[in-house]
């Protein structure tokens, strides 16, 4: 009970505090301290849930079950490492004159608000509040994407706002329809939007309304997940925003949006006799994987490249949850974890590579290993991990997803395999010269913050070799819950 209060209150207080602190030199440290505090609270909360089982607290408004508590811990962890990374990174950006102190204050404050909306979306038991938090997450990040105020970043932020705003409006309609279906069974008032209540009566929800609601919810939240063909905002927002923002967008926002979809899917699966929700998710997931893989080779900007890779991986996870069942769900959850860790690590490395070479154009980034061995190896290992090379964790989850797909949806396997192959060829052929090629770029004296990168990568490596028993149990329970 007190842990959840800390998890939610710390980021809010932090945002207010950072707005007051302004651009004093210790602001980044305050940011790190608040994020670390949030992570400690989240870890305590997780320990509590592992020990006592699911929690339903504060007048049933907050729910913590195996499915969301692991995402809470992951979100708080990536938030903490991102704040560690952004401390030196943003200082260098300021020295390069890309940022003014005022904007740095905005960045710190909005970063904490964004963390709050993510954690609220994850912990709330109210499907309506889930929507409110997702919309608030868009609002918190719009100004972060346009932080540099360049024409391209303004365009990216506008696109992000309009596309995600319209998308999330569809999700609101879906939520209204869900409430409409539930209200008949649960009566009007607050109870009919509580997920636990809905889950208890899910077999009796009106199928026509629920299927229509799910279409709207999937399209709405799917826009934020970056599912093709609703993905247009994603590469722009990732490429034009500051790197820590790209890292949290890819590592956290996409996960949380997918979490919202899966929560709704659980309800719909109960209400419908057929596999309507599953088929939709398999279709959207597979399309995202294939289209993103094909677009990877056409990218010239390093951040866009990895943004498309995020679309591809979100597609894989959506596909896995679409198949459903204990193994595919387990793999989906594992993939969510390792993708989030790996992709944010890659963005950290990319951020430093861009600072060292002064460009995001991949053709101009060469020989990172000679410029800075740490950044070069970080990027190389991160790219190998995200491409699913053993022994990294991504290999384990992709292997599980592929083998389940062969059994459950054999027709989809060739598409998946081909897409993974194409993605491998595209990303590897671009990363290899960037890391090992002959360098012509000028050197900039920058000391990288590589601890977060290697922490993330070693966690991913560990998850590929050995999943701690408590974590495995936890995934299994969550997988059972998702069904």
């Amino acid at each position: 009970m007190p842990e959840i209060v800390f998890v939610l209150a710390l980021p809010v207080l932090g945002a207010a505090l950072l707005a007051l602190v302004g651009h004093r030199s210790f602001a980044p440290s305050v940011n790190v301290a608040v994020s670390t505090g949030t992570f400690v609270a989240a870890a305590a909360l997780t320990a509590r849930v592992i020990e006592d089982g699911p929690l339903l607290v504060l007048g049933r408004q907050f729910l913590l079950d195996p499915f969301n508590v692991f995402l809470v811990a992951l979100t708080a962890f990536v938030g903490m490492t991102t704040s560690l990374f952004s401390r030196p990174y943003m200082r260098i950006e300021e020295e390069h004159g890309r940022l003014t102190p005022g904007r740095l204050r905005l960045y710190h404050s909005m970063f904490q608000l964004f963390m709050f909306t993510m954690l609220l979306a994850l912990t709330t038991n109210n499907v309506g509040i889930l929507w409110v938090a997702m919309e608030a997450a868009t609002l918190a990040t719009v100004l972060l994407v346009s932080l540099y105020r360049t024409p391209a970043s303004l365009e990216a932020a506008w696109k992000y706002f309009i596309l995600c705003g319209v998308g999330i409006a569809q999700a609101l309609f879906g939520t209204i329809l869900l409430y409409f279906a539930a209200e008949k069974l649960l009566g009007a008032g607050g109870g009919a939007l509580l997920w636990t209540e809905l889950n208890a009566v899910r077999e009796n929800l009106e199928p026509t309304v629920v299927s229509l609601a799910f279409v709207f919810l999937l399209v709405g939240y799917g826009t934020k997940v970056g599912l093709v063909p609703l993905h247009n905002w994603l590469p722009d927002a990732h490429a034009e925003g500051p790197t820590p923002v790209s890292a949290v967008l890819s590592g956290l926002l996409l996960n949380v949006a997918l979490y919202a979809v899966v929560r709704c899917k659980v309800l719909v699966d109960g209400a419908l006799p057929d596999a309507f929700a599953k088929d939709l998710m398999i279709g959207f997931g597979l399309l995202s994987v294939v289209v993103a893989a094909l677009l990877l080779s056409r990218q010239k900007d390093i951040k866009r490249l990895f943004a498309y890779s995020s679309i591809e991986h979100m597609g894989i996870i959506t596909f896995a949850f679409g198949i459903g069942g204990p193994i595919a769900n387990f793999a989906g959850l594992l993939h969510m974890t390792v993708h989030s860790l790996t992709k944010s690590a890659i963005f950290f490395a990319v951020g430093h590579a861009v600072q060292k070479t002064g460009t995001q154009v991949m053709d101009d980034i060469r020989g990172l290993v000679t410029i800075s061995p740490m950044v070069g190896w970080g990027l190389a290992l991160g790219a190998l991990a995200i491409l699913g090379m053993p022994p990294f964790g991504v290999f384990a989850s992709e292997f599980l997803i592929l083998t389940t797909a062969m059994r459950e949806q054999p027709w989809a396997t060739p598409f998946l395999l081909a897409a993974l192959g194409v993605a491998f060829a595209a990303v590897f052929s671009k990363v290899q010269p960037m890391v090992f090629g002959e360098t012509t770029a000028m050197r900039l004296p920058v000391r990288p913050a590589m601890i977060p990168v290697f922490t993330h990568l070693s966690l991913v490596l560990m998850l590929g070799l050995w999943i701690p028993p408590f974590l495995a149990d936890w995934y299994r329970n969550a997988a059972k819950l998702i069904g």
């Binding site: 929507w131 719009v142 105020r149 024409p151 309009i162 009007a188 009106e206 026509t208 309304v209 229509l212």
Partner: protein
């Protein structure tokens, strides 16, 4: 059904006005008039919510109506007026498609939404169920307006009008969402508007105009 027939008639009337206003917005080129129309839409929405509240004796709907009145009729239009004055953009010169064509597409959309709403309104037990089709149609028309406009402010008004349509859908299908959710939605809309205000100034500073054609450079292969 405890509804008064007069209440029912009033609600149908408001729904019809809402649809008319949605079409009027689609046809309006002047930004200031567009804001007036948006405020009028908010007023109709608030009135119809109040009538639903009265005729079905749902006290929480009065709060919802008051919230709509404050936000949609006073705060948001005032913010929009201020923005228009400060940015000095009064006219919108062209849309992507000419207005008669837009109206025709709009009519097709209305027919579509009535079809889509039919199975749901049959299930609804509320007095207002017949208006669900109209709610969906106003969402679709607002969507169309967002697609066809080139300038930033009309697009945002389209976005807000879409939210109006969604709220109307919520009232007509379910007697409104729980209060905590409505408050959250209102907060999001308000904060969104404030952030956009800041954002407009950024766009303006960078491009000297709010024409979205300046914002069409990010493409797949640059």
């Amino acid at each position: 059904m405890t509804a008064l027939p007069i209440g029912q008639q009033l609600i149908n009337l408001f729904a019809a006005i809402l649809l008319l206003l949605a079409f009027a917005m689609l046809a309006q080129r002047r930004i200031v008039s567009l804001i007036d129309l948006f405020a009028a839409q908010g007023l109709v929405l608030a009135l119809s919510t109040a009538v639903v509240a009265y005729s079905t004796r749902q006290p929480h709907l009065y709060e919802s109506a008051a919230l709509t009145l404050a936000l949609k009729v006073f705060v948001l239009p005032w913010l929009l007026y201020r923005l228009v004055r400060k940015l000095d953009v009064r006219w919108e010169f062209e849309g992507l498609i000419n207005i008669p064509t837009t109206m025709l597409i709009g009519i097709v959309l209305v027919v579509l939404s009535f079809n889509l709403a039919l199975p749901i309104s049959e299930l609804a037990s509320t007095v207002t169920r017949s208006t669900l089709g109209i709610a969906m149609a106003s969402v679709m028309l607002a969507f169309l307006m967002m697609i066809t406009r080139r300038k930033a402010i009309p697009q945002v008004i389209g976005f807000l009008a879409m939210e109006n349509g969604l709220l109307f859908a919520a009232t007509s299908a379910t007697y409104g969402m729980p209060m905590v959710v409505e408050l959250g939605i209102a907060l999001d809309v308000l904060v969104g508007m404030l952030i956009l205000g800041v954002f407009f100034f950024q766009i303006r500073e960078q491009f000297d105009s709010l024409d979205l054609r300046h914002l069409e450079n990010l493409k797949e292969e640059e």
